[in-house]
């Protein structure tokens, strides 16, 4: 266990935000979960008792008849905002006094930094470079993330759970978002920050960074496993595999929706449903490709003269 190495990584000034992000996320997930549970319990209670549902004010917080439904922004909101501003300023001041922003040697195109890392908030994409070609990891994926986020309000037709925390009423939406945000984005950033060392190789926390370590991995392509040698064959085979994934996966998503989310499925238009299918399958493809690489050393699935997937 090389504590020094661990400390060097954790205390690197630009890594401190991520060290802070982890407990922050845990706290806010807990806060959201606590409120979701409260609301779900209330919902269950009201579902069971229609008479109560008619009169109840439907929040977990107390409300008595005669209380005003609204409060003045001044002072009740503004004081919180001013307080928040002061607290943030203090945190920022203390942080800036105790920790210096990094400044390396002057830029030198002839001296490559190793590892040369993108800013931490892009490390998820850089991590994807291990598994995908740059045009996918660097261009297609960011585009898909942005488009994917943008279509969320238009494909989520579930009218429940608008304006309050809940889990039971939005299980699918919330688990999908958590998968994308926590598993695919945050955890890749954590890997990129704390695990990846020189040569973008995997170093467990506490393992010394060895700048001379070489790993000989013989990567194969999926068509090779099936003994397909000709270029045309590889192209057709890859297209079939990728196409097959989307067709079969699409069917799978359909059968799941029809069975377990019948109400949502009924509400969705064809476009809404197919968009959901496509984006779900693309999201799921990332860990699949990672497993292919890690378990079977497979580099490409689909090889064409113009691009490889």
């Amino acid at each position: 266990m090389d504590w020094h190495q661990l400390w060097v990584i954790i205390s690197a000034p630009d890594n401190v935000p991520i060290v802070g992000l982890i407990p922050l996320l845990c706290f806010y997930i807990y806060l959201a979960w606590k409120q979701a549970k409260g609301n779900d319990d209330l919902i269950a209670e009201l579902e069971a008792d229609p008479a109560m549902a008619k009169t109840h004010h439907r929040k977990t917080w107390p409300f008595k008849p005669g209380w005003q439904k609204e409060v003045h922004v001044w002072p009740f909101l503004l004081r919180i905002e001013f307080l928040a501003a002061i607290i943030i300023t203090i945190i920022l001041m203390v942080w800036s006094i105790t920790l210096n922003a990094p400044l390396e040697e002057p830029a030198n195109p002839n001296l490559t930094m190793n590892p040369s890392k993108a800013p931490w908030y892009f490390l998820g994409l850089q991590e994807m470079l291990v598994y995908f070609d740059p045009w996918i990891a660097g261009v297609v994926m960011p585009t898909l993330i942005i488009v994917g986020l943008m279509i969320i309000p238009y494909v989520d037709t579930n009218p429940l759970g608008s304006g309050y925390y809940t889990w039971k009423q939005r299980k699918f939406a919330i688990s999908t978002f958590l998968f994308g945000f926590i598993v695919l984005w945050i955890s890749m950033i954590i890997i990129g920050t704390f695990i990846r060392g020189p040569g973008w190789q995997w170093f467990w926390p506490g393992q010394t960074w060895d700048h001379n370590r070489q790993i000989y991995e013989v990567n194969r392509d999926l068509p090779d496993l099936f003994g397909i040698a000709s270029n045309a064959g590889k192209m057709i085979f890859g297209a079939l595999v990728v196409g097959g994934y989307f067709v079969l996966g699409g069917l799978g998503v359909y059968s799941l929706f029809r069975r377990y989310m019948a109400k949502d499925f009924k509400r969705m238009s064809l476009v809404q449903f197919s968009m959901t299918q496509v984006f779900l399958l693309i999201m799921l493809a990332l860990p699949l490709k990672m497993i292919l690489r890690l378990a079977w050393h497979i580099k490409y699935v689909w090889i064409t003269p113009w691009f490889n997937v």
Partner: protein, 323 residues
């Protein structure tokens, strides 16, 4: 009052007259002198009463500063604690009227919004302020950029603090935006009628990341140089538009005319790239982001304020139109 003062002056005149006859000659001049003297004495007398009265009036006026002309010209209404005035305090202020006068009693609970949108906005203001101060010391040229940062760190009073605050506020802002998006999702706040504002938010998210990224290169050190090199190398692989991307060569892309060249103003990260990131970082993106923030806040109001905490809905009510 003026009449009385006049009489007092006349008495004083009599006394002066006596002095004049003792001298005997120059009666005309003495007369003038006397008249001046008398006038001055009258003024002094008047002063003794005028000024204290005025001073008293002034002091009385200060006891209630809200009645002064300066005050009433600035504040357009009273501030004694009535519901009307509390509302007016918000509505008649150009900055605060972003808020409604009253809000849902539970919406002020920190546990609902986590305050993250507001904190992100505050950090943006801090960044604008510290950024403008940094601009006084920074030249976006290969010769000066790195030295300017050294100068800031070692010679400019509070320069190091300034740079640190700008850097850490930027990181906090990225975290703030993510957490804000996370809570907006978890509260289902993107649902009708807030779909559009969610999209404005997504654009703000992208702009926030781009602001951070363009700033990264500016110190012109190894860290920024290689991060931007790694980042823009990906642009090389843009399908159709990058010289190494799928169908790029077929579209006639070379290292000297593809998107990466356009982003960097050259085929390597050099002086032009520095200037370009500087302009995007200090002028282009902040202006665009400000415009989108204005729209974002406007839409929060127009969409009916914060989405909740709303009364919970039951399964059976899902298919009925709401409100």
């Amino acid at each position: 009052m003026p009449e009385e003062n006049g009489n007092g002056g006349a008495n004083g005149n009599g006394g002066a007259n006596g002095n004049g006859s003792a001298n005997g000659n120059g009666k005309e001049r003495v007369g003038l002198l006397q008249r001046v003297k008398a006038g001055v004495q009258a003024d002094v007398q008047a002063l003794k009463t005028d000024i204290p009265t005025k001073a008293k009036e002034q002091m009385d006026g200060l006891k209630d500063p809200t009645k002064t002309q300066v005050y009433t010209s600035i504040f357009r209404h009273k501030h004694d604690d009535t519901p009307r005035n509390r509302a007016l305090g918000i509505l008649s202020n150009v900055f605060l009227h972003l808020h409604p006068a009253k809000i849902n009693r539970d919406a002020v609970r920190y546990s609902y919004t986590w305050g993250m949108g507001g904190i992100t906005f505050y950090l943006f203001i801090v960044l604008t302020f510290t950024g403008a101060l940094l601009m006084f010391y920074y030249h976006p040229t290969k010769v000066q950029a790195f030295r300017d940062v050294l100068y800031l760190e070692h010679d400019v009073p509070f320069g190091k603090l300034l740079r640190n605050m700008h850097r850490w506020a930027a990181h906090l802002m990225v975290i703030g935006v993510w957490l804000h998006m996370f809570r907006v999702f978890l509260t289902g706040s993107y649902k009708k009628p807030r779909e559009f504002n969610w999209n404005v938010g997504v654009i703000l998210l992208v702009l926030t990341l781009l602001l951070s990224f363009t700033g990264y290169l500016l110190p012109d050190d190894q860290l920024g140089f290689w991060a931007v090199t790694v980042g823009t190398n990906m642009a090389r692989a843009t399908p159709g538009l990058g010289n190494e991307g799928p169908f790029g060569p077929q579209m006639g892309m070379t290292p000297y005319n593809d998107v990466r060249f356009g982003l960097l103003g050259g085929s390597i990260v050099d002086a032009n790239a520095l200037l370009r990131s500087y302009i995007w970082h200090c002028i282009g993106i902040p202006i665009v982001a400000s415009i989108f923030m204005i729209v974002h806040f406007w839409r929060v109001r127009k969409d009916g304020g914060i989405s909740g905490p709303a009364p919970v809905m039951l399964e059976a009510e899902g298919d009925k139109p709401r409100r």
